[in-house]
């Protein structure tokens, strides 16, 4: 399968990328690692007139200790996050979720920012960032803004990143002493999760992000408030699917996904020490 023809433009810096976005507008698609966009282009589900390659902007590839949080450049590859000692020790849940993305070849190319901007509800990393209460930094024509992970995913494959915006950084609170668990249920190696649960337990509170349980990456808010109210893992997990509208497909129907969400959330809470 071969993508539709396009014009190729390479951005040399974040500022250059914003200029090119302003110039090409909605005709352009940003290309980072390409592991979400290129498959869509091969299926002709996406056929941008201009592909704007930001994959060589090295200034946006980093993991830094920024005091109370980790600052992760949007173009940091999954592989680099998976093996980062900083991420492993300060936000182990993110390292664990990232290590479950695709396979080693995919993780050598795919980036955290690319995965987030794609906004796929079946993706592993968004669930971890929701549980961790991460903040996304978005640069646009009107300057830079912070978007909480709760406000970032706006719909199916839709995010708060506008057509002239560039996601530049992900800020992840440091939680070295928190318990965590990433539960991914699939039928075969390297498959997307049928359902997944990212669980963070920090003192008496917890964060739960769910994979493939709605049209966008979501938190299990009912579980979080139940834990905060003193419920045990089993009781809290019973509300994991409340209010959510999971998809039905060849792998699983709605009821089965709701069941998986409750089971995986309970296992996650137990493993994370809730």
């Amino acid at each position: 399968m071969i993508p539709a023809a396009f014009d190729y433009v390479r951005a040399e810096s974040a500022g250059h990328a914003l200029e090119l976005l302003a110039e090409h507008g909605d005709e352009a698609k940003l290309l980072a690692g390409g592991h979400s966009l290129i498959p869509l282009m091969k299926f002709r589900l996406a056929a941008p007139a201009v592909v704007l390659d930001i994959g060589r902007i090295t200034e946006l590839s980093y993991v830094r200790d920024a005091g109370d949080h980790l600052a992760i450049g949007a173009l940091t590859r999954h592989r680099d996050i998976e093996i980062s000692e900083l991420v492993g020790s300060q936000a182990g849940l993110l390292a664990a979720a990232t290590s479950k993305v695709g396979d080693p070849q995919v993780r050598h190319r795919g980036t955290i920012g690319g995965a987030l901007a794609h906004g796929d509800p079946a993706s592993d990393v968004p669930a971890a960032l929701l549980a961790l209460r991460a903040t996304m930094i978005v640069d646009g024509p009107d300057g830079q803004r912070e978007v909480s992970s709760d406000d970032f995913f706006t719909g199916f494959l839709e995010t708060a990143v506008g057509e002239q915006d560039l996601l530049t950084e992900i800020r992840v609170p440091k939680v070295p002493d928190a318990g965590w668990s990433f539960q991914k249920f699939n039928r075969r190696a390297q498959d997307w999760a049928i359902v997944g649960a990212a669980v963070l337990v920090n003192g008496g509170s917890c964060g739960v992000g769910l994979v493939n349980m709605d049209s966008r990456p979501v938190r299990a808010a009912g579980v979080e408030s139940a834990i905060a109210g003193g419920a045990d893992a089993a009781a809290a997990a019973a509300s994991a699917a409340d209010g959510l509208e999971p998809p039905a497909d060849l792998n699983a129907g709605v009821e089965y996904r709701q069941h998986l969400a409750r089971v995986l959330t309970r296992r996650g809470l137990e493993e994370a020490g809730a």
């Binding site: 023809a5 290129i38 592989r79 070849q105 050598h108």
Partner: protein, 156 residues
């Protein structure tokens, strides 16, 4: 557009469309047909090559993304008539049946050992999760990778 890269130590520069995938650049333009196209959807790993020393699926990389970079294909592993240790191990352990997945499997395995030099059997099985063998000959493939690593995967 002109896309240039170092392939197996040789500088190559070709005029191709921007939409050209790396696997087609290698096979159809550079004449290196050792890299196979399997599923064409970044699932099966038959098209695995090294980009700057790391395994990638060349059906999901644009050739222009490899511009000015180093690519190694299965043709670049052997030293003349002397097989690469991973190729030798596949040969000795009979780690192939039909052979279609073999180039990608070997490239993924070499990349795996670069990152995990002394893998356990579990490391190998998980590390090769991006490569499918439709003959399901995984047992001897895992044996070959452990043999190339110089260990037995902690079995003894």
């Amino acid at each position: 557009m002109q896309v240039s890269m170092m392939i197996n130590g040789t500088s190559v520069s070709l005029d191709v469309e921007p939409r050209t995938l790396l696997v087609h650049y290698l096979r159809d333009h550079a004449g290196l047909t050792g890299t196979n196209v399997g599923c064409d959807t970044s699932s099966c790993g038959a098209c695995t090559v090294h980009l700057d020393g790391e395994a990638v699926k060349s059906c999901t990389v644009l050739a222009v993304q490899a511009d000015d970079r180093e690519v190694t294909t299965i043709e670049g592993l052997a030293d003349g008539d002397v097989l690469h240790p991973m190729q030798q191990a596949f040969h000795e352990c009979h780690a192939l049946q039909c052979g279609y997945c073999t180039p990608g499997m070997i490239m993924a395995a070499v990349s795996l050992l670069d990152e995990v030099p002394n893998p356990t059997e579990a490391d190998v099985r998980e590390g090769l999760e991006g490569n499918l063998c439709r003959c399901t000959g995984y047992h001897n493939i895992v044996k070959a990778v452990l043999s190339a690593a110089g260990g037995d995967g902690g079995a003894s």
